[in-house]
């Protein structure tokens, strides 16, 4: 990339800032709602309240009306649903599931992109094809399989069916196909087996793709609602999205606590994104190979 002139820089910043303001509004609204009183979520004249009217560090009374401290919705939400357990379950399931899925996908993608074997492309297309069937019609058979294994209401059921993803395989395959073959050949000459090439050449070169897939998969597990809802029975087994749904009643929604819970739920995903970010933009070091 060439250096940008000052004028271009200013123009870029201007464009980016305009976009950023619009992208920030949802989060700002979530945060502001989470520190509001339930009565002021929506503006009385119609419309959306962006800022809370009452802001107090302590529980007080204004004109005889009890006012909760601005941070009050957070502990309330935490106690209303069994937040600690839900959070822990979600984190555990997401970490184990993500690790497993990225590993199996990376292995399968290596076979699909770098190895030659009969029926390779046909098998890969079969992988792709299964993604074209909507999940609603396969859910009952998967559930029956779970029951046959005795896995209903277990962590296995939450994690294992999500480990084998055609999406991850496809994504990594696309990335691996684009990698140059020189290093691989050099490793072969050094006597490395396929496992060695995979672990020492392909994976280190694929950090941007792996970081991307890790982020997506984690978010997939983290936000998954329907499958955990179907496959769990007791409260101890449930994940966070199901817990948060308790704030949405049949006739009314507890927006302040829902948003407080949602803000807490957002943190791990955001942290992961920020942490992984440096890998998204880590250039693949091809210079050592003298380009192509």
């Amino acid at each position: 990339m060439t250096r940008l002139s000052l004028g271009k820089k200013i123009a870029l910043y201007a464009i980016l800032t305009i976009g950023a303001v619009s992208m920030l509004i949802p989060l700002l609204w979530m945060i502001s709602t989470s520190i509001k009183q339930p009565s002021e979520v929506f503006a009385p004249g119609g419309g959306i309240n962006l800022m809370p009217k009452y802001f107090s560090w302590h529980d007080t009374k204004v004109n005889g009306e009890a006012i909760r401290a601005w941070w009050g919705n957070y502990p309330d939400a935490w106690h209303e649903i069994n937040f600690f357990r839900l959070y822990l379950t979600s984190i555990f399931v997401a970490i184990v599931g993500t690790f497993g899925q990225v590993m199996t996908s990376a292995m399968a993608a290596y076979a699909f992109s770098r190895l030659k074997f009969p029926g390779r492309d046909k098998l890969f297309f079969a992988y792709l094809a299964t993604m074209m069937i909507p999940g609603s019609v396969t859910m009952i058979p998967v559930f029956v399989i779970m029951r046959t294994f005795g896995w209903v209401n277990t962590y296995q059921a939450l994690i294992i069916p999500g480990l084998f993803s055609a999406y991850g395989t496809f994504m990594l395959r696309q990335f691996f196909m684009g990698l140059p073959t020189e290093l691989e050949d050099a490793a072969k000459i050094d006597g490395s087996g396929h496992l060695g090439i995979w672990a020492r050449v392909i994976l280190p070169l694929s950090k941007p793709a792996l970081a991307t897939l890790t982020t997506f998969t984690f978010m997939g597990f983290w936000g998954s609602y329907m499958w955990p809802l179907v496959v769990t029975i007791t409260a101890e087994m449930r994940t966070l999205p199901i817990g948060l749904r308790e704030f949405v009643g049949q006739h009314s929604t507890n927006y302040t606590q829902l948003m407080a819970g949602s803000v807490i739920a957002l943190i791990p995903v955001l942290l992961l994104f920020i942490f992984n970010q440096r890998y998204f933009v880590e250039g693949i070091k091809l210079s050592g190979m003298g380009g192509k």
Partner: protein, 447 residues
């Protein structure tokens, strides 16, 4: 340099080890605490919509029956319920909210026939309101036991009535009287040179078409269910009346007006508008008083839904059934028996949910006055309204989802003024009759 990178490597390995250890510890903790042991207890799953009252209800039951542990399932999500029933992991007690869905499950042999247990467990089926029959019987067999119910009533904002100098409505009032009041209560203001509503007189949910179908004595289906009679003059008159309320007299908010007055997204629009005094009257069931109670500055009361030549209102209820594949039938029946007890019914009713289904003098007396809410002197009115309450109509030859899709679509076009009410009614009748014909010819469409 070398040392530095060595140190870095050690740090990295240590970090990875710590992370793995943390996950393992987390896993062990979760597994260890995942299944709290309840020795010697029967666990039953109660599949019902979420409400804070459930905890209280379970407490009340478990105090009387220490040998049974009740788990409250989150929501009665259709996909979850069906998948679990198909996978033979049924809930023990499940809530059903519509006569049509009770029929659908019963037809497919999913529901246990409760008739033989009525005597043994003392299920008070004969003491329930007579109009609840569609929530109880399928082909003469008892398949559901309604826990609570609600005739639709009209909630009105007393303060707004006082301010406008309008006398409070009487239970036997008519739609014309209601319209006259609603006109007076509708207010606009000028914003940026445009007239913007700040209050509408009345709110009726777009899907509660029954009031207007029945208003002049019309019906959606013929008695045998084989013909849709939406194109009858009575129904057309009623739907015209509804359309006029919104499009001619503007006392009902359009959907965009409703949102502009309270943009809550998709949920609870009518209750929110009423709470914020954006509508003066709204038609709904008693369960909304849970919310209105919270709003201390809201002065409200209920009155019967206005009537046309035909005095009738809509009935909603929640009925409990036991799946055939249920493993703990005894405990489930004990639980249902408890749900029909006076204590449980009063608990739920006092919480502000629908009214008790038990039609006994004892319960009626207990329910008619609640010292905790001295302002609510309207419980008797709800019970009186049960005389006029009717469950939504359905035909055995068409799925209510299909009915909803057709009626919703054609009424949408009516609200958008793409067609007149008469055209909408004609189209609805034509389309529903076509589907009924198809279903009779090919029963595979029916389940």
């Amino acid at each position: 340099m070398e040392k530095n990178s060595n140190f870095k490597n050690v740090l990295r390995v240590a970090g990875i080890a710590a992370a793995v250890a943390a996950v393992v510890v987390m896993g062990i903790y979760l597994y260890a605490t995942a299944y709290p042991t309840v020795k010697g207890k029967t666990i039953i799953r109660w599949c019902v919509d979420p409400s804070p009252a459930r905890k209280e209800q379970i407490k009340l039951f478990e105090a009387e029956h220490p040998d049974i542990d009740v788990i409250n399932d989150p929501g009665a999500d259709g996909q979850r319920l069906l998948t679990q029933l198909a996978g033979d992991v049924p809930p023990d007690v499940m809530a059903l909210y519509e006569p049509q869905s009770i029929r659908l499950f019963a037809r497919n042999d999913v529901l246990e026939d409760l008739t033989p247990y009525v005597k043994e467990y003392g299920l008070p089926v004969d003491k329930l309101y007579p109009c609840l029959k569609p929530y109880i019987y399928y082909q003469g067999k008892i398949v559901g036991i309604p826990e609570n119910c609600g005739p639709f009533v009209l909630f009105y904002n007393k303060k707004l009535f006082r301010e406008a100098g309008i006398p409070y409505p009487k239970p036997n009032w008519t739609w014309d009287e209601c319209l006259a009041v609603a006109k007076k209560l509708t207010k606009y203001k000028i914003v940026d040179g445009r007239e913007v509503p700040i209050r509408k007189g009345l709110y009726v949910n777009n899907t509660d078409w029954w009031f207007f179908i029945w208003m002049y004595g019309g019906h959606m289906f013929s008695p045998d269910g084989k013909t849709c009679t939406m194109d009858s003059p009575e129904v057309k008159r009623g739907i015209r009346y509804w359309a006029d309320l919104r499009l001619k007299y503007h006392v009902l908010p359009t959907s965009s007006e409703a949102q502009s007055m309270a943009p809550t997204g998709a949920w609870g629009t009518d209750a929110l508008l009423f709470r914020e005094s954006m509508v003066a009257m709204t038609i709904s069931g008693r369960w909304l008083s849970i919310q209105y109670r919270e709003q201390k500055d809201l002065d409200w009361d209920v009155v019967s839904v206005p009537h046309g030549p035909n005095r009738i209102t809509l009935l909603a209820s929640k009925s409990y059934a036991i799946p055939k594949s249920c493993r703990n039938k005894k405990a489930a029946l004990t639980f249902i028996r408890h749900l029909l007890s006076k204590d449980n019914q009063m608990l739920l009713a006092n919480y502000g949910d629908g009214i008790p289904t038990l039609n006994t003098p004892e319960v009626q007396k207990a329910f008619s006055y609640n010292p905790e809410y001295p302002n609510e002197k309207n419980n008797q009115l709800h019970m009186n309204e049960m005389k006029y309450a009717h469950a939504p109509e359905f035909s055995p030859y068409i799925n209510s989802m299909d009915v909803g899709a057709v009626v919703g679509r054609e009424l949408d076009n009516m609200w958008l003024q793409a067609q007149t009410p008469d055209q909408a009614c004609d189209k609805i009748a034509k389309r529903i009759n076509a589907i009924i014909c198809r279903n009779i010819a090919n029963p595979n469409f029916l389940n």
